[in-house]
């Protein structure tokens, strides 16, 4: 299937080639292997998921529909707080896909961890649709540790009711090519979307992201923070859009990206967008792209560290900072040794 993925809400100069990315020849045919740890309060199944805008776009949904990938829905009823995290570990073979729904009733609270591993090479796709009732809170962690020759499409669409809060931690630690889409509708008044994105891309890896926060409710908030490291011949494109629509008075949108470039052959594109059709709002975005501060390097060199050690340490620190924010201790404890093992092998 030929797909156009991650088309931003506001396209820009055509010659930059950032108005969506073409992915040709991708196909899925079977559900990905899933190992699930489901806390007692969470129910499998639920009502059919609504049509939600996702970050990757309609072609991603069409890909799953064409292969009749079944929906896997987890529902937390109103007023419930899950005692433990919902842990979903997906293993993707070539052509594997998953279509997940997370539905939280009014005033409920859930931590969900989705961990992706894969075959060494191939293509897989996963879509997560999220419906948060009024006052619900979802803390969602998505960790990608796909194989070095694997291409993964990870797509999120979310709808937040009044006072609902989506906190997303997204870690991209592996895979050759990753298409990462996320669109969050802040429909209810005082709803919020907070995301921390951490990535490290090396070799010939590609990371193509499209994050959107669409504010329609009053006094809504979003905070999109991305921090990452590019090395060797890596390519990364980050599109982040704060869309402050007419009627969302009192809303605030913040967005920041910090990219550390490790090698002269990397390629970084950053498109931080604010769209604003409401007077009584505040939108901020910032980006810092480059190398480490020379004063910092000088200081650390004076303490006996080699320049390569300094860069490796600072790169790891960025990822660790995101990992520490993961609200599930079991996941954190598993992740640090896995990272250390990966570094030792490298």
């Amino acid at each position: 299937m030929d797909m156009k993925l991650n088309a931003p809400l506001a396209p820009t100069f055509g010659w930059l080639r950032v108005n969506g990315t073409r992915l040709t020849g991708a196909a899925v045919s079977a559900p990905a292997d899933l190992r699930a740890e489901v806390p007692a309060a969470v129910q499998r199944g639920g009502a059919a998921l609504p049509a939600l805008r996702t970050g990757a776009g309609e072609d991603a949904g069409a890909l799953l529909r064409a292969a009749a990938i079944p929906e896997t829905v987890y529902t937390l009823p109103a007023g419930e707080t899950a005692e433990d995290a919902l842990r979903l570990s997906f293993s993707f073979d070539n052509g594997a896909a998953a279509d997940v729904g997370l539905v939280l009733g009014r005033g409920s609270d859930l931590i969900a961890v989705m961990d992706y591993t894969s075959a060494e090479a191939g293509f897989g796709a996963i879509r997560t649709r999220i419906v948060l009732g009024d006052g619900a809170r979802l803390r969602l962690v998505q960790i990608q540790r796909a194989g070095q020759g694997f291409t993964l499409l990870n797509d999120i669409g979310a709808d937040c009711g009044a006072f609902a809060r989506l906190e997303l931690i997204r870690l991209v630690l592996g895979g050759e090519s990753t298409f990462d889409g996320c669109s969050v509708a802040l429909r209810g008044d005082k709803s919020a979307f907070v995301t921390e994105i951490g990535y490290t891309v090396g070799g010939d890896g590609r990371l193509d992201m499209n994050y959107e926060a669409i504010h329609t409710g009053k006094k809504t908030e979003c905070d999109i923070r991305a921090a990452g490291v590019l090395s060797e011949r890596a390519f990364k494109l980050f599109r982040g859009t704060i869309d402050l629509r007419n009627g969302c008075s009192g809303s605030v949108g913040n967005e920041i990206e910090d990219v550390l470039l490790m090698d002269e052959t990397v390629h970084n594109q950053t498109i931080p967008v604010i769209l604003c059709a409401e007077e009584d709002v505040v939108g901020n975005h910032g980006a810092t792209i480059g190398r480490l501060d020379e004063n910092l390097i000088f200081y650390l060199e004076s303490r006996g560290l080699e320049r390569e050690q300094i860069y490796a340490m600072m790169a790891r620190a960025r990822i660790d900072a995101v990992i520490r924010r993961i609200p599930d201790r079991k996941t954190v404890e598993a992740l640090f040794p896995a990272l250390a093992e990966g570094e030792a092998q490298a």
Binding site: F13, L16, H285, R291
Partner: protein, 470 residues
């Protein structure tokens, strides 16, 4: 205070919105055909290479799609546009007395001859498709500075220099309206500043489009040689008609080694204008381009001056303000290409939206793999005056080396109620207070302009802010 308010009310938009019948003018048919392009070429007595260039550009125009990413230009139908209008002046003059009365009156009302007497080293005045006046002070000419109309220069001793530079920075293949420009360009100025010559006071070109349904396609070519220095000011306006007008000019600036060029623009086209202008500068080692841009007019604008930092240590500064009011969709910003080591760029913009106006800041900073140790800082701030309006910020950064430091920050917000309250407590009306705050918000541009132009810009802001309350 009362006197001051009367002054503001006196200079309403009719200051720019007067018109004269163009009964004696010659114009080509509407639309764009090979015959029309050949007719314009014949009118211009083009050398053969230019005629061929025009026809090649037309072919490129025909096969190039409309842009699919910016404001809608559906209201612009090339079939209805007259691409060449020659005013009744039968030749360009070097004294205002020889300019036809109504055209001279137009520029008198716009204050151009007065500005020339008081604060400019030279002036070019274009009316519709042709320059009607061009003059440069003797002492500036004595330095070897060439400031003339492009068409005369094309046929004179600088013909080869123009051929070597004309549409080399902005080739017709760049986009559809660059191709259109290549096919039907007419008028515009040529400036050459010899090495190590510093022009102490600015040169100015003023473009006035009087004919309804017409396009203006002037070409400005400026070459500032090594270690030379120039400030060039561009102004433009038009009366408002109920049919679409089109401006698709082209500005090509060549800044030599260690040279400096400041290019200032106060754009105040009428609000039926599609302003699809292209501006580009190439800066050699140690050179510096400074863009100062105020965008107030037009119905739709696509305007992104580009700096190509081609030599080591080249530098670009862009300072801009955009004010979008009712019926306006102004998509403005800049582009910077760092393609040499140690280059730097600084972008500082403000945009204001009110009464349903749409203002978009759009930028691209590209740092290629050769641009080691380059730095770029982009700062854009937007002010929303009401919720009928819209303000978007669409920056892009494309970095292909690890040895660069790129920073970007943007903020969208509203006028602080506290600031308005403070000013009102000092006896200023709410309308005046808001106008004052907006003028202060746009200070980044006004402080970079010569005083007379800063005053004009602030007056434009106050005109636009009238009636902003309630």
């Amino acid at each position: 205070m009362n006197e001051e308010k009367t002054y503001v009310e006196d200079i309403d938009r009719s200051f720019y919105d007067f018109r004269y019948e163009e009964k004696d003018a010659f114009k080509v048919d509407t639309g764009l055909t090979r015959e029309i392009v050949e007719q314009i070429s014949a009118e211009k007595n083009d050398p053969e290479w230019m005629r061929d260039f025009r026809l090649r550009s037309l072919e490129i125009f025909d096969r190039t799609p409309m842009p699919d990413w910016g404001p809608s230009i559906e209201g612009l139908n090339m079939e209805n546009i007259v691409t060449y209008v020659r005013p009744k002046a039968d030749r360009m003059s070097a004294t205002w007395d020889e300019v036809p009365e109504d055209i001279k009156n137009t520029f008198e009302r716009l204050g151009i001859p007065q500005a020339e007497r008081e604060s400019l080293a030279g002036v070019g005045a274009q009316y519709d498709s042709e320059l009607v006046y061009h003059n440069v002070r003797e002492e500036v000419a004595a330095l070897g500075v060439i400031y003339t109309d492009l068409e005369s220069a094309l046929h004179g001793e600088y013909g080869e220099m123009i051929r070597a530079h004309f549409m080399k920075l902005v080739p017709p293949t760049d986009h559809k309206f660059a191709a259109l420009h290549g096919a039907v360009w007419s008028g515009g100025s040529f400036v050459y500043v010899p090495p190590r010559v510093s022009v102490e006071i600015p040169l100015q070109s003023y473009f006035r489009l009087n004919a309804p349904g017409a396009g203006q396609f002037e070409h400005t070519l400026i070459i500032v040689d090594e270690e030379a220095d120039l400030h060039f000011i561009e102004g433009c306006s038009a009366p408002k008609y109920n049919v679409a007008n089109l401006h698709a000019g082209c500005v090509e600036l060549f800044v030599g080694k260690n040279a400096r060029l400041r290019y200032s623009t106060i754009e105040n086209w009428s609000k039926n204008m599609y302003n699809l202008n292209t501006k580009r500068a190439r800066v050699e080692a140690g050179g510096r381009i400074e863009w100062v841009s105020g965008s107030f007019g037009s119905h739709v604008s696509y305007l992104y001056p580009m700096s190509v930092l081609a030599g080591r240590g080249a530098r670009s500064e862009f300072t801009g303000v955009t004010f979008a009011g009712a019926g306006q969709n102004l998509d403005t910003g800049c582009k910077v290409i760092h393609s040499a080591p140690d280059t730097s760029s600084y972008v500082n913009t403000r945009s204001i939206s009110k009464s349903g106006g749409i203002s978009t800041f759009r930028s691209a900073v590209v740092v290629d793999s050769k641009a080691e140790n380059s730095k770029s800082a982009v700062s854009c701030q937007s002010l929303m005056i009401d919720s009928d309006s819209r303000s978007d910020t669409v920056p892009a950064m494309d970095v292909r080396t690890d040895k660069a430091d790129i920073g970007h920050e943007a903020r969208i917000g509203r006028i602080s109620d506290d600031a308005v309250f403070y000013l009102m407590s000092r006896g200023i009306s709410e309308e005046e207070a808001r106008a004052l705050i907006v003028s202060g918000f746009a200070e980044n541009v006004s402080k970079e302009l010569p005083l007379e132009y800063a005053v004009e810009m602030n007056n434009l802001i106050r005109i636009e802010m009238k009636g902003a309350i309630g």
